[in-house]
């Protein structure tokens, strides 16, 4: 078991239906950005190991749309779609995200690419959904759309009760 070079941090706001994910990468902002908007690169990392990602629609421009399907053992298990609300190269990517299994739900995802210098980049991904219940359901689903972490106050508490 080796220690992670970079730890993924997940923050679930105690009062707002948001999930924030923070992670550092050993690559320049343009490169990390490219891995997010180039469909061939994106499909290589987005799904869990057991899942193959098939990109169905991909128009990575401000106002464009996207759709992809998760395939396990040759069977389609889930599809997701949304729009590229804003594509600002190397800096910011704003997208909507809907799992077709819950068509009324939509998440607004903003990824900010922060240049840390020395060829390193910090990404901050903020997802906003319509209610605390939906947010918690996403956190609990194990769906790999967003990422998590617990209520700040709860964290404190957990370290005290552990």
């Amino acid at each position: 078991m080796t220690l992670a070079k970079h730890e993924t941090e997940i923050l679930a706001d105690p009062d707002l239906p948001t999930i924030k994910i923070v992670r550092d990468f050993d690559a320049r902002p343009e490169q990390v950005f490219r891995a997010w908007i180039d469909p061939d690169l994106f499909s290589q990392w987005i799904g869990p190991r057991s899942i193959e990602t098939r990109v169905d629609t991909w128009d990575a421009r401000t106002g464009g749309s996207w759709r992809y399907t998760a395939i396990r053992d040759g069977e389609e298990v889930a599809s997701f779609f949304g729009s590229f609300h804003e594509v600002r190269p190397g800096e910011r990517l704003v997208q909507t995200f809907t799992w077709e299994g819950a068509p009324d739900g939509v998440s607004l995802d903003t990824v900010t690419f922060i240049d840390l210098g020395d060829g390193r980049t910090r990404i901050e991904e903020l997802s906003v959904v319509e209610s605390m219940e939906t947010r918690d359901a996403i956190l609990q689903s194990g769906m790999d759309t967003g990422v998590i972490e617990g209520y700040e106050k709860l964290d404190e508490l957990l370290s005290r009760t552990a």
Partner: protein, 129 residues
């Protein structure tokens, strides 16, 4: 409280219990109550003191926490102090950690993609110069 002793339990029961626990903790007053109980057992009266709320209102919040399995109250003692069920929190931490690990795995694949990207760029730059 059964959630802490999961092995034989139905997954659905566990998920339901977690739903209730997270819903209970979505309220700031209830988080304060939980934080206070982390320091030690307390009566509803003790818990009401720092809040601008009636004992009845606090009692309702405690009831929600009890339903969620986060707090228990002794039946026989006259003061009926509230007690925090710490093992539920252990279970919740495990669950959040699992979610975090999923994200971390995804980002490690992205690390690999970026590493290959770096190699390709270097080769192209090398060829161009």
């Amino acid at each position: 409280m059964v959630v802490g002793k999961v092995p034989g339990m139905e997954m659905t029961a566990t998920a339901e219990q977690l739903n209730r626990a997270f819903a209970a903790l979505a309220d700031p007053t209830r988080r304060d109550i939980v934080a206070r109980l982390a320091e030690g057992d307390a009566t509803v009266g003790d818990l009401a003191e720092p809040h601008d709320m009636t004992v009845q209102a606090i009692s309702k919040h405690v009831h929600v926490l009890e339903e969620a399995g986060l707090v228990s109250r002794t039946r026989d003692a006259q003061r009926r102090p509230c007690h925090l069920e710490a093992e539920v929190f252990d279970f919740m931490t495990g669950w959040i950690e699992r979610y975090r690990r999923q994200a971390e795995e995804r980002f490690r694949r992205l690390d690999d993609v970026l590493e290959r990207l770096e190699e390709t760029t270097e080769k192209q730059e090398g060829a161009a110069s």
